[in-house]
């Protein structure tokens, strides 16, 4: 049970890490007096703060949902569904 969980986690990390690395391509872009984009924000690297905040929020909500899911599963077992 425990190893299964770790296995899943490592797989998720292995999937997400390359995606994060891919984003370095986004940094390479520079503006040419075109519509204003968040270049400065990106250059200073602070966009990662926002990304992390959202990752925390989404992870928190998902953990809450997973726990709720587990609680309902236990209830189902108790009632004999």
């Amino acid at each position: 049970m425990k190893s299964k969980k770790n296995n899943w986690l490592s797989r998720a990390v292995a999937l997400l890490l390359p995606l994060l690395l891919l984003t370095s391509a986004a940094f390479a872009q520079t503006s040419a007096a075109e519509p204003e984009m968040a270049d400065a924000l990106r250059a200073s690297g602070k966009i990662y703060v926002v990304v992390l905040v959202l990752v925390i929020i989404v992870t928190g909500l998902l953990v809450y949902l997973i726990r709720l899911d587990g609680k309902v599963s236990r209830l189902e077992k108790e009632v004999g569904e």
Partner: protein
């Protein structure tokens, strides 16, 4: 946990990370707000799909009544309404900065608002009927009306009139001119991820309602 729940987690985290860090085309006025496409639009995709699931279960209920089908339809509407309200709120915020106003008398916007009112009335209707079978039957019939009103309001009417909203009034929207291939790589996973999240929430709340039903049944048997 079922496999699609892991998929939901991966897709949502991917959406949040790539939604901010991925490449988007440079567009005037929209600027970085076009990233909202990964968050605002999937709310409506998710809502429509979940409400469709609901109406299917309502029809199944009318053909073959069972408390389970009623619960499935009811919980789906609740999730759909949450998604719809979030869609309205995020859309309004986006409109403030793209169009300069929180709300405007636009067919698409008003259609979406009326849809939410119709489904709000579904919940009111359910709350006002005591008898379980009558409530289930009434709300199943109303559900069919609600869905068949929602689809024209959301997807047909706005196309017949002029609208500010992308995809309306002869405007092909993001799909043709603005949505480049790098955005698609985030947009489609985002739609699937958010929809699956809605399905997951609905699944948990349905299972909870099933258990509650079972406990009540047991109690009634004990009393009898």
């Amino acid at each position: 946990m079922k496999w699609w729940k892991y998929l939901t987690i991966v897709l949502l985290l991917y959406t949040v990370v790539m939604g901010f860090l991925g490449h988007v085309p440079r567009l005037a006025i929209l600027n970085e707000t076009e990233r909202n496409l990964y968050f605002h639009v999937p709310m409506w995709f998710g809502m429509t799909i979940i409400l469709f699931v609901s109406v299917v279960n309502a029809i199944r209920y009318l053909r073959n009544p069972s408390p389970r089908l009623d619960i499935l339809a009811h919980e789906s509407v609740k999730t759909g309404v949450i998604f719809g309200v979030l869609g309205l709120m995020t859309g309004s915020l986006w409109a403030r900065f793209a169009w300069g106003t929180w709300w405007t008398a636009d067919v698409k916007l008003n259609g979406a608002a009326v849809t939410m009112l119709i489904y709000g009335a579904y919940l009111v209707l359910r709350g006002s009927v005591r008898d379980e079978q009558q409530r289930a039957r009434l709300s199943a019939i109303y559900n069919i009306f609600a869905f068949s009103a929602a689809i024209p309001l959301l997807f047909i009417m706005p196309r017949l009139y002029d609208s500010l909203h992308p995809g309306m009034g002869g405007n092909p929207g993001f799909s043709k001119y603005d949505l480049d291939s790098s955005m698609r790589m985030v947009f489609y996973p985002a739609v699937i991820g958010w929809t699956l999240l809605g399905v997951w929430i609905t699944e948990v709340s349905c299972r909870f309602a099933f258990v509650k039903e079972k406990i009540y049944e047991k109690q009634e048997k004990q009393l009898a």
